[in-house]
């Protein structure tokens, strides 16, 4: 009876009976099984644990995906960034646009580190910052933009001061063929792109991107300049001359564990109105060439221990002709290079703990200076140099430990020491935790410091009648702590609230000079604090692909007891993306910006706040999933609004920004 019952039991279990076999599973089968177990194991111990999920990081992070970018109908990188909480975009007199982060902004945005595929782009050593060529980076080839607000020097070193923006572009696997796109819009703007990528059977892969952009610029009315207000001959009143043409070529080549990547950019542009507060008649031209080349390899020493190595060469050159009066031209130029290498060890101590540590070295050099003056741009003669040839060497060591002592707790502890040949050393720690105290509710806290290295222009500006450099400058320093809660109260809904407090010291600013009006010095401090509120709800079911999101920031940045000028106290983004079906979706965005105050002594009224309404329509994967089409309207209600002109340019008036603008875009995949 017992035998019968067990036979029944086995019968129930063994439904798929096979014939008796003489041999058992082979060794090959064991390997297959171990491969399966290894794949299952990856879910907890990922190959690169440092690629943390946004919810688990201690830093305040926003990720904008390729899909988001398509919905936004972005024309360039800054169209993407302006939707990120805590970030604002404004116009500068030179033409480049300023990235305001957490209530602090400067002309060259040198306190923000922009990276392309993890490689820093602050190649302009004379003036620092990355916006000189990257502010209008085309977005067609971007896969993802990661924005980490807060100090990042403990890992990334110099200039990761207020935020780190990492742009990830499509690789061979993403492309797998030929992609082309074209866009046309207001201001005679045209963009073209061609990308090709392929993975070969011999573990080689290649991705190439080419972009071309051309525009006549926004043609903002300029009512006066420094000549016209004195009654002298001038192009004012007139219009801004922000014409631009740029070429981008990017490559990513891989073979086995080696990778060679880089990007070349040539950008020729006019100016908003100019360097000497004089409106150009169209003959000011800025000409930039920027590239980097990086060779990297990952060495797998053990399953748990890998080493990343890289050598790189960055180059940035400027050759600019500035019109500083109707018959006076000034040509400046220089070439900056940075050559160096980095080695980083990644050790997964256990499933719950990963340590990375590394060493980097770089030599930075500035030469090929050009300084010329003349009555027209074709007849210039050499004049006294306004900056110096310079060499700087720097090295840094860093270590970071990411540890999950419990399933619901992540702790991060890291520090970096950098040593510069010109101003000495700087030490920057970072620590924080992320605690999921209730399921789907996490509390974050972090503290970190960062530094911004003095630029060559700030150290060595010479023969300038207005401002002189100071070789004794120390780096700017910031100490930031932030805390926040991230929650998923119901499926599809993400909300986040963050409070931050940053104390910036040793600001490099222009102070009164003895032989000139100004000289650079470490002078002053700023305290910036604020609250960032974000929420997003992704619909499901028939509305899959639709979402609504909003972010609102309240910020208060104070210097010498006064609210910083030219930055708003609050800013709000409201976004709705509505997917009608699998193909068509519509996007709407409202940006509400508060008033911006003036400096003490600037008698102008505050720059009024405004609300802008953008709208777009996107059709994806049409005609056999090979065609995407989008059409976007910016500033749909043609609102007249202004970005603030600084107090020093108060006689010019604020910068009028564009009215209603259109942009259409077609993308083809082969």
């Amino acid at each position: 009876m017992i035998k019968y019952l067990y036979t029944l039991l086995v019968g129930a279990l063994v439904l798929n009976s096979s014939a008796f076999a003489d041999a058992s599973a082979s060794n090959d089968d064991l390997e297959k099984e171990l491969a399966y177990l290894a794949a299952e194991r990856q879910v907890v111990v990922t190959a690169s644990k440092m690629e943390e999920h946004v919810d688990k990081t201690v830093a305040t992070t926003t990720v904008i995906t390729q899909d988001d970018i398509a919905h936004i109908g972005a024309r360039n990188l800054l169209d993407v960034l302006r939707l990120v909480p805590g970030i604002g975009i404004t116009q500068s007199q030179l033409g480049i646009r300023e990235i305001e982060v957490r209530g602090v902004k400067t002309l060259a945005s040198e306190k923000v580190q922009v990276m392309l595929n993890g490689h820093p782009l602050d190649h302009n050593l004379q003036n620092a910052g990355s916006t000189w060529v990257y502010d209008d980076l085309p977005v067609d080839t971007i896969k993802r933009v990661e924005v980490v607000r807060g100090p990042g020097s403990a890992l990334y070193g110099a200039n990761a001061f207020l935020a780190v923006i990492n742009i990830i572009t499509q690789n061979a696997k993403d492309l797998n063929g030929l992609h082309t796109s074209a866009g046309w819009g207001s201001f005679d703007t045209q963009q073209y792109r061609a990308s090709w990528g392929k993975q070969f059977k011999n573990s080689a892969e290649a991705a190439l991107h080419f972009n071309f952009t051309d525009t006549n610029g926004i043609k903002s009315p300029i009512s006066a300049d420094s000549l016209s207000v004195q009654g002298l001959s001038s192009a004012a009143p007139g219009k801004s001359q922000l014409t631009e043409g740029r070429y981008d070529l990017e490559w990513q080549l891989g073979y086995q564990d080696f990778k060679l990547d880089g990007r070349f950019i040539n950008k020729k542009t006019g100016t908003f109105f100019g360097v000497a507060t004089v409106l150009s008649d169209g003959r000011t031209q800025q000409d930039y060439n920027d590239y980097f080349l990086r060779l990297s390899r990952t060495w797998k020493i053990q399953d748990k221990f890998t080493v990343d190595t890289q050598v790189f060469h960055d180059s940035y050159s400027a050759d600019n002709i500035w019109q500083i009066a109707p018959t006076q031209f000034f040509r400046t130029g220089f070439q900056d290079t940075r050559t160096g290498g980095e080695i980083q060890a990644n050790y997964h101590i256990s499933d719950a703990q990963t340590v990375i540590s590394g060493f980097s070295y770089a030599k930075e050099q500035q030469d090929n200076l050009i300084d010329q003056l003349g009555i027209d741009s074709e007849h210039l003669i050499p004049t006294l140099p306004t900056t110096e040839e310079r060499i700087r060497r720097r090295w840094g060591v860093y270590i970071e430990d990411v540890w999950d002592p419990f399933k619901n707790v992540r702790m991060t502890l890291g520090a970096r020491y950098d040593r510069y040949s010109d101003f000495g050393g700087t030490f920057n720690p970072r620590m924080g935790f992320n605690w999921e105290f209730i399921k789907n509710y996490s509390l974050k806290f972090s503290y970190g410091t960062a530094y911004r290295a003095p630029a060559f222009g700030e150290l060595g500006l010479v023969n300038n009648p207005v401002v002189l450099g100071n070789p004794m400058l120390k780096p700017e320093e910031v100490k930031t702590f932030e805390t926040g809660i991230i929650a998923h109260p119901v499926a599809g809904l993400t909300t986040q609230a963050t409070y931050y407090h940053s104390a910036i010291n040793q600001l490099i600013s222009q102070v009164s000079g003895q032989t000139t009006a100004f000289r650079y010095d470490n002078n002053g401090s700023v305290v910036a604090e604020g609250v960032e509120l974000e929420t997003r709800y992704d619909f499901d079911g028939n509305l899959q692909g639709s979402y609504i999101s909003a972010n609102h920031i309240l910020q208060h940045s104070v210097q010498l007891g006064q609210q910083l000028a030219d930055v708003p106290r609050h800013r709000t983004n409201l976004i709705v993306n509505w997917a009608f079906d699998n193909t068509w979706s519509s996007f709407a965005h409202v940006l509400i910006k508060g008033n911006t105050l003036r400096n003490l002594g600037d008698t102008r009224n505050d720059v009024p706040g405004y609300a802008l309404f953008d709208m777009g329509l996107l059709g994806k994967n049409m005609f056999g999933k090979k065609v995407d089409i989008s059409f976007n309207v910016y500033n749909l209600f043609d609102k007249r609004y202004y970005d603030p002109a600084p107090t020093s340019l108060s006689f010019i008036g604020d910068y009028q920004m564009p009215g209603r603008a259109f942009f259409g875009h077609v993308s083809l995949r082969f």
Binding site: K3, Y6, T7, L9, V10, A12, L13, V14, L15, N16, S17, S18, F20, A21, D22, S24, A25, N27, D29, L30, K32, E33, L34, A35, Y36, L37, A38, A39, E40, R41, V43, T65, Q66, D67, K143, N171, K173, D174, S350, D351, A491, G492, D540, G541, N542, Q544, G545, D581, N582, T583, W584, S586, M615, L617, K620, N621, L636, F637, D638, R660
Partner: protein, 311 residues
């Protein structure tokens, strides 16, 4: 004039909206953790055969082929609007759960499914056989066995081991379980465990079975102490396991497809996770003889494969 411009824009947008309407038929989205892994690939292949027989459409998304899988999967779900997402392996399920928590999800080949974040509208076919049935069979084969030992990693197998202990207790078998944090602890753990047990049970724990060396270490230690090894898969028979009861991969694929069809027709209750329906029992008579281990001869009727010694 401005209001006229605005109206023009609205008309233009309306034209686009009206032209919208190229909805595609519903289909199943198969998300595979890694289609180069034999187990995942086999299950996927069988799953698709059943779908084809039932005139269902499907789209496949292999995580190993996409660098930014999360974003691309999200986009694909939006495009395809599948009635159900079939996730093969834990990685696929975790990702799908993240990006499409409100979609109906069906999983298989996920080790210890009880550790997964299971929500409403989730169904599955377990990777492991019913431990109660396995222990019943073990007792049927080896009536004298009273104590069974196993190694496991808490993060991957805690819930499964708890189920085993509970089922074993009901059937009068004592389970001694020894947790390890990584494979380097296997030697010490076995030294401690083997003297206390009558049989060692290899469960599908990815930390314990992290390499061939770990497998060899287990079998060498068991052989030295003359302890029989029971395994969840017949791939361990050649290493020296005396008995293996393996879940059949092809059946898991077909079973998952049948479940998917029932889910689509709302014929199955939410949260259903089925045990694998098919299995193979392999007996290593050579290893049994070497250990001079008595077993119930009547149980031979239940065996699918018998491995004799090579002569």
């Amino acid at each position: 004039m401005k209001i006229m411009d605005f109206c023009k824009v609205l008309i233009l947008l309306s034209v686009f909206w009206v032209s919208a309407g190229f909805a595609q038929p519903s289909k199943v989205l198969i998300v595979n953790s890694d289609n180069t892994v034999f187990r995942y690939g086999t299950i996927a292949s069988e799953f698709k055969k059943v779908l084809q027989q039932n005139a269902y459409q499907w789209t496949e998304f292999n995580l190993n082929s996409h660098a930014d899988a999360e974003a691309e999967l999200k986009q694909l779900i939006q495009q395809e609007n599948p009635v159900l997402i079939y996730c093969i392996g834990t990685k696929a399920y975790s990702l799908a759960r993240n990006v499409a928590s409100n979609k109906k999800l069906l999983f298989s080949a996920a080790i210890n499914w009880r550790r997964l974040d299971i929500g409403e509208g989730t169904y599955g076919v377990a990777n492991e056989l019913s431990s109660a049935q396995e222990i019943s069979l073990l007792r049927y084969f080896f009536p004298t066995i009273k104590t069974i030992g196993l190694l496991y990693n808490d993060k991957f197998s805690r819930e499964y081991v708890e189920t085993i202990k509970k089922d074993a207790s009901t059937l009068g078998i004592n389970i001694i379980n020894q947790p390890i944090n990584d494979a380097q602890e296997i030697g010490d753990a076995l030294n401690e465990l083997l003297p206390k047990i009558d049989m060692f049970w290899i469960i599908s724990d990815p930390v314990v079975l992290s390499s061939k060396a770990s497998v060899q270490q287990i079998f060498q230690a068991a052989q030295q102490r003359q302890k029989p090894v029971y395994a969840y898969s017949d791939v361990f028979i050649e290493q020296g396991a005396v008995l293996a009861i393996s879940a059949d991969l092809a059946t898991i694929g077909r079973q998952s497809a049948s479940l998917a069809l029932m889910v689509d027709k709302d014929k199955v209750s939410e949260g259903t996770v089925q045990n694998p329906a098919g299995s193979t029992v392999t007996l290593n008579k050579c290893a049994l003889d070497a250990l001079r281990l008595n077993f119930n001869q009547d149980a031979l009727d239940s065996v699918n494969k018998i491995v004799e010694c090579n002569k």
